[in-house]
Amino acid sequence: MNHLRHVGKSVKRKDGPDKVTGRAMYCQDVKLPGMLTGRILRSPHPHAKIVSIDLGKAKALDGVKGVITVEDTKGIKHGFVETPRYPADQEVLARDRVVHVGEEIAAVAAIDEVTAQAALELIEIEYEILPPVFDPHKAMREGAPEIHPSHPKVAEKESYANIGGKTESGWGDVEQGFADSYYVREDRYESHLRTHGYLEPQVTVAQWESDKLNVWTSSMGAFNKRAKLAKVLDLPYSSVRVHKAYVGGAFGGKVDLYSHEYCAARLSMLTGRPVRFVASREEIFSAYRHGQPLVVEIKTGVKKDGTLVAQELRIINNSGAYRGSGVVVVFLAWGFTMAPYRVPNLKYEGYSVYTNYTVRAPQRGHGCPQVRFAIESQLDTIAEEIGVNPIDIRLRNARVADEELPNKDNTHEAGLQDCIKIAAEKTDLVAKYGRDRKSPPKDSSIRHGIGIGISAYMSGTLIYPNGSGVIIKMNDDGSAVVLTGAIDLGQGAETIITQIVAEELSLEMDDIKIVSSDTDTTPQDIGAWISGLTYVTGNAARQAATNARVKLLGVAAEQMNVTADDLYLDNKEIISQSNPDNRLSYQQVIAASVANHHGDTVIGEGFWRTMRDEPNHPSLATTKGRWTENYAYSAQTAEVEVDLDTGEAKLVKALTVHDCGFPINPGLVKGQIDGQVSMALGHAFMEEILTKDGYTLNTSWLDYRMPTIHNMAESEDADVITEQYEVGQSYRTKEVGEGLVSGILAAIANAIYDATGVRLHSTPFSPEKILKGLRELERQQKAAE
């Protein structure tokens, strides 16, 4: 019997009422008595030596309470990655040199914003301009300006000064593979710079109380922030408390430690008053971290039937002026390459290259859309060249269930083949494909096209804090309080954890109150940035509930003179199966536990770690070691319209067929899908951070065009359910919050080709590029005639 009452249901958000009434408290709503306003002085140059800094006038300004530079820090470095190969590479404020526009040099705390801004303008800095480098290819050349002379070289065989990281992997023999192939081609694809576009600006409030730092900060995981902040402040973790606040969207942009977080803390410690920093939208666009465009060079060989034989990829990431997550992206790009299709011979090289751009952060999909755009575009080109349709070539190569991957991961119940088949059936893709190219409509400039893209994504991996704990405190009336470090960014973490606990303990959703994301009062949690929260924290919650349930059953068995296996839970009662009249309420059982078990009030503990037998995360250098326990698979199709007169393309309809294992809350899954389709639409057609010499040119939403309500696409979806949920059993759920920005981007590119015959090799898919492609086709046609 597996009758589920809460899990698997589209339950409304637990935090919904707070969010529609304005009661939800975000960091910007934290107001403390005597709070000072902080501002940061940023570099106006992409690369310069700091000759001198004079703070005298700023410090003397009436209303200024504190001014700091790197001299007021302990000089402790931090990084998104901190490993022996990739040690922390960034100080919280610039020392002697600035390496990107917007780099933080000094910070001020003052009684109000006007005074703080005035103080910044009184800081006198003398710079000596150094030559900058922005193009990663130029940065890799001999003689390029070296951005981090002190930095250990990671690629010893290579002399390039600015390689911040390199991933090398492969198997088989690619040269032999290409020699054995029926058809081989090489292509190059480029993606462009976009930003996260979280609506809530980054805000930090810090309050130092003699030996304790209270912090409210926009984040994607309180424990990761605590660890980084405590490190750079040289404080024990117990002296740093990151409090809960709602987060107004993050999409990867709020994981890293930001300089303003340190400055708020340090200035509060120095002034003895709470300090608040709010990043202006202009600062976010011009100085904060954006995503990571990749250059993907790809050579692929196939058999006559389209079976992949060999693939060689060289990926170059422009990581900006510090390492950020650049070295992670070039590792992940390998994973997003090998997970969906079987490639018997693979050679992979990924370079992360320092330039004088702003630092780069993870961004929803973290390399996956860039990689899938390249691979799926090229696969369609190959399919056409050898006369195989886009569905058959994918089915031929797509991974199946229970396959062992080269890194010893297993695909388990992978539903990719079903995803592709269902996507093809639901859209009638094979019949529609090529229709407007074969017989172009005569009376219209509009062409229709359809395309498909697939992707795979990890569902949690090992990186600090590695595991999640959950505590459930039963109240003596039978209701429960759940303590979890999970953070709800809008994805619905609090809701799904409550559903799981309600299911396992046979409670109603309203019987459960959740206390979350507070480093002092809740257990450690992996955070909402490695696509594993539902799986890892959810299983911890399930285990905590099991722990409480076993205690309740044990006490009830004693009281009811039966064995525990005769008992079941139903709506806050424990009932004997053999004699249903023999029953006790939770209230009675908990009272008995307190009376007869030394005051045990029934507290359930649970914890979970993915890949529990693996000692460590996989190697970023060699890809050796397990990556993830659950791969989420998907196939997405795009139907587009392109106007041949204007070159303008539009996504009309998206279909997402995905294997998320088991949807704990299908309604929340749908919300994630729709949001990702919208974000991919922005990626494809609208959004681009424009830069010149390291400066951001478009620093507002008027100039950086994000999808508005006028830019909606119809978004349909279908679940391929490959896992089950059973009370008392661990479960596998798969990622659904970020990988689905990927296949759809590739599908849009393939659909534009299908509509027009124009193959785009770079994002965004602008009218200029499409018109240029159309002109080129006309030229070729004329030449042929």
Binding site: V20, K31, L61, G63, L122, G490, G675
Partner: protein, 175 residues
């Protein structure tokens, strides 16, 4: 050159604060503000209603939308002094205690809120629309909400929320 702060004197005079009587959600509040203070700052910092959100301070995102005499207004680019004596409504005005109104319920039923940061502004734009136009078409909804950015939902569920709230055949999607 001297830096200009709030204590700077110009021709021997400091920038003079003004006492305003603001009508917010049917209550009159007396506040003292500098002439440069925006309505958003007055609502959030002087009156203490933090439901209205501050997303860009430049009138580009719509998170700060409030109703001024029934008109959706970007409170981050509207001076507080210009709004004295007007009827201002914020997200806190929608529910009656713990009882959510039909529009708030619809947002929960449709998944129209995720991170929630755009939600107060969305709700106020939608409130103004439904007060004038109880059965808006899709085009009417697009027009009314075109100034409100949402990064989480892709807007589909927000449109459905308004169609449900206006009783146009869209059924609740969530339980």
């Amino acid at each position: 050159m001297d830096q200009i702060t709030d204590r700077t004197t110009v021709n021997g005079k400091k920038s003079r604060s003004r006492v305003l009587e603001m009508s917010i959600n049917g209550e009159t509040h007396e506040i003292t503000v500098k002439p440069r203070v925006m309505l958003l700052e007055a609502i959030r910092d002087k009156i203490g209603l933090t439901g209205t959100k501050d997303g860009c301070e430049s009138g580009t995102c719509g998170a700060c939308t409030v109703l001024v005499d029934g008109q959706p207004t970007l409170s981050c680019i509207s001076l507080a002094v210009e709004n004295e004596g007007k009827d201002i409504r914020t997200v806190e005005d929608l529910a009656d205690g713990d009882n959510l109104n039909f529009l708030q319920e619809a947002f929960l039923d449709q998944g129209g809120t995720q991170c929630g940061f755009c939600t107060p502004g969305m709700l106020m734009s939608a409130t103004a629309l439904l007060e004038k136009n109880p059965k808006p078409t899709r085009d009417d909804i697009n027009k009314a909400l075109e100034g409100n950015l949402c990064r989480c939902t892709g807007y589909n569920s927000i449109v459905d929320s308004i169609l449900q709230a206006s009783d146009q055949g869209v059924k609740p999607r969530l339980l």
